[in-house]
């Protein structure tokens, strides 16, 4: 198990390096010149060159990438003598249009994204798994049919429609949340109610589609596992139906869910663009969209892209380890 973890860890680090390098190359290929973009109206070629240097784009892509990696661990200084700005480690870059270290900007946005992703994750897992188990147990009965209606609605309603409906009706029509306070940050530990007010509806909106998919997935896995030979063995031993379901069936039926749940969660940690937009949450999703569409703020775009892919890779690692813990057959490979 230990060597398994070590191997997976090394593998993840290598992948992180490759993916980040690839991202740097991709941005280099995009035919937009950030140095010209941040140049004022009276732009001269020498000003553009100066900008290029300030942005750190005057060196090769490999060099840019390497400086970024070093900055992550050692901090980094941007700009030339006199007006140099130092961003402490982990330095993700410097936004010249916002005059701030990217790490600071990201650190402000991340709590929104984390709250949204985590809240939605807990909601969709608990709703999806319990509804899925219920409908598998009551296959063909009323509860199963009701759950299948939920699945149909949840999977066919796009998040932006649900989100707009939720904002219109619950938030604005019934005044459950003051529209001016929509998207305000509240610390979940010191102001749990304020946090709930901001995040409950966005989380529920985001969770709906996922919960529906997870209901369907859980249902089919539980039904399939119930007909396995080892469940018959458990019954032959004299175990009660409750123990068989909780211990034998769920363990096997939910194992594959670990994988997709981890990856879905990782995807959201990179930013839930639509939901953040509708509910005015200044998370990573909104940050990236703004950086792309309003200012073409390359350092922010690169940082958010890297963060999103790092989340996926790291969650992949966690999922692999968790899966090996659950399924002993994986450990030996």
């Amino acid at each position: 198990m230990f060597t398994f973890v070590l191997k997976r860890l090394a593998y993840t680090i290598i992948l992180l390096a490759i993916v980040s390098l690839t991202i740097f190359f991709i941005f280099d290929l995009i035919p937009v010149d950030p140095a010209r973009l941040v140049c004022s109206k009276q732009c001269t070629p020498s000003l553009v060159e100066a900008n290029r240097q300030r942005l750190g784009l005057d060196v090769s892509v490999l060099e840019q990438w390497w400086r970024f990696i070093v900055g992550l661990f050692a901090g980094r200084t941007f700009g030339e003598e006199g007006i140099a700005i130092t961003c402490a480690a982990p330095a993700l870059g410097y936004s010249f249009s916002r005059h701030e270290c990217v790490t600071t900007i990201v650190a402000e946005a991340f709590p929104f994204t984390l709250s949204l992703a985590l809240g939605a994750f807990v909601l969709w897992l608990s709703v999806g798994i319990s509804l899925g188990v219920l409908s598998a147990r009551k296959k063909g009965k009323f509860a199963d049919r009701a759950a299948s209606v939920f699945v149909l609605v949840g999977t066919s309603l796009p998040t932006f429609i649900t989100g707009i409906l939720v904002v219109l009706f619950i938030v604005l029509r019934f005044n459950l949340v003051n529209p001016l306070e929509l998207g305000n940050w509240h610390n979940p530990f010191t102001e749990p109610l304020g946090w709930l007010q901001t995040f409950f509806f966005p989380c529920a909106t985001l969770a709906l589609a996922y919960a529906a998919t997870y209901t369907r997935f859980t249902r089919s896995n539980v039904i399939e596992t119930s007909s396995e030979d080892f469940i018959r063995t458990a019954r032959a031993k004299g175990l009660s139906e409750k123990v068989i379901l909780r211990k034998h069936t769920l363990r096997a039926a939910l194992a594959p869910i670990t994988t997709i749940a981890g990856l879905d969660f990782a995807g959201l940690l990179g930013g839930a663009i639509i939901t953040e937009g509708i509910f005015g949450l200044n998370g990573l999703g909104r940050l990236s969209i703004k950086a792309v569409t309003q200012t073409y703020d390359l350092p922010i775009i690169v940082a958010t892209t890297l963060i999103a892919s790092a989340f996926v890779l790291i969650m992949n690692l966690i999922v692999d380890i968790a899966y090996a813990y659950i399924d002993p057959r994986v450990r030996t490979t």
Binding site: F230, A236, K237, G238, H248, A252, A255
Partner: protein
């Protein structure tokens, strides 16, 4: 004198979209403590279905069961067919146990062998987790797993096929059950391992004084281990007798066919395997006469034509040897002799 298990007129049907599947049809058999009953028949003849009914392992909403299966326990008889689901559950593992054909899929892949054996023990015994593992180790030793104290922590995929079946046996016997139903326990195993497992079952039977029902489609494996043999065809028992009855005085054409398909060495040369031609009947629409008639080479000798019109009854032609055939035993023997 009643035996430990007495199954009487057991019927198991599955309502399906194509019609009712009569997988077990007026089935009766019995087995006593210390005795081995073999149930033999082609695949699909209803052997598993009948015994799963005894274990109460059918899905009650999708199965119709009538008849009785009485366990004569020390504190009185219980009919598992009419008893409540909870009553039958409490008999499983303790009064009766079952092992299955494929020990890989029958073991949970995520739990250690030891945990899976101990789980059954904890159900009927008070003790710590450590006691459970100690008991599991003891059981693994009994079924002949070398280095049991370390193998007890292995997962099923770390065991070989034969060892898995030994582990299954250990799991089934952990609460010292009175009845063990072994459903094709050796079918998935190598020939050499097969005989080891059968010998193990026989040894354990002596040690624990169990009743064993050995289900198999291969008459070849039962000669040494069984006391009685029931031959099943199309959901019905067609012949029921002692091992000697079945091997030396068979009374049913289907049994004869089975015997002929067992490779045997006699007169110093091995006889070719002769499978019975034709297909087993559909259990949804059984023929109105004898279910074996379409494949029976002797049906034309029954001059009354009864083979096509009436289901023969399972009748005792003396000394507890039962057969379900319209043909007279003496006639059958003459016909067989003429052929030879």
């Amino acid at each position: 004198m009643s035996k430990f298990l007495e199954v009487t007129n057991l019927n198991v049907t599955f309502p399906t979209q194509d019609g009712e599947v009569r997988a077990s049809n007026e089935v009766s058999y019995s087995v006593d403590l210390g005795e081995t009953l073999a149930i033999v028949g082609e695949s699909g003849s209803g052997k598993s279905v009948s015994n799963l009914a005894v274990m109460g392992l059918h899905n009650p909403t999708r199965t119709k069961i009538t008849g009785s299966a009485v366990l004569n326990l020390a504190n009185g008889p219980v009919d598992v067919i009419s008893a409540s689901a909870e009553t039958v559950r409490r008999l499983r593992g303790k009064a009766m146990s079952m092992i299955f054909q494929d020990p890989m899929s029958a073991l949970h892949p995520f739990f250690t062998i030891g945990d899976q054996i101990a789980e059954g023990w904890h159900l009927y015994n008070k003790g710590s987790k450590k006691d459970g593992i100690k008991k599991a180790t003891e059981m693994l030793e009994i079924v002949g797993i070398p280095d049991a104290s370390s193998r007890v922590h292995d997962y099923p995929h770390q065991f070989s096929g034969g060892m898995r079946q030994r582990a299954m046996i250990a799991m089934a016997l952990v609460n010292n059950p009175s009845l063990l139903i072994a459903d094709e326990p050796t079918t998935a195993l190598d020939v050499t391992v097969q005989s080891q497992i059968l010998k193990l079952l026989k040894d354990l039977q002596k040690e624990f004084n169990m009743a064993i029902i050995l289900i198999t489609h291969d008459l070849g494996v039962v000669a040494e281990v069984a006391d009685r043999i029931c031959v099943m065809y199309g959901g019905r028992i067609v012949e029921n007798g002692t091992v000697d009855d079945i091997f030396y005085r068979p009374e049913h054409p289907y049994t004869l066919g089975l015997l002929n398909s067992v490779p045997r060495i006699s007169d110093g040369q091995s006889h070719r395997l002769r499978a019975i031609p034709g297909q087993p009947p559909s259990l949804i629409s059984l023929p109105s006469g004898c279910a074996f008639q379409p494949r029976c080479e002797y049906s034309s000798k029954v001059t009354s034509g009864a083979c096509n019109s009436t289901v023969p009854s399972l009748s005792d032609k003396g000394s507890g040897h039962l057969s379900r055939c319209h043909l007279d035993v003496a006639d059958l023997n003459n016909l067989v002799k003429d052929k030879a």
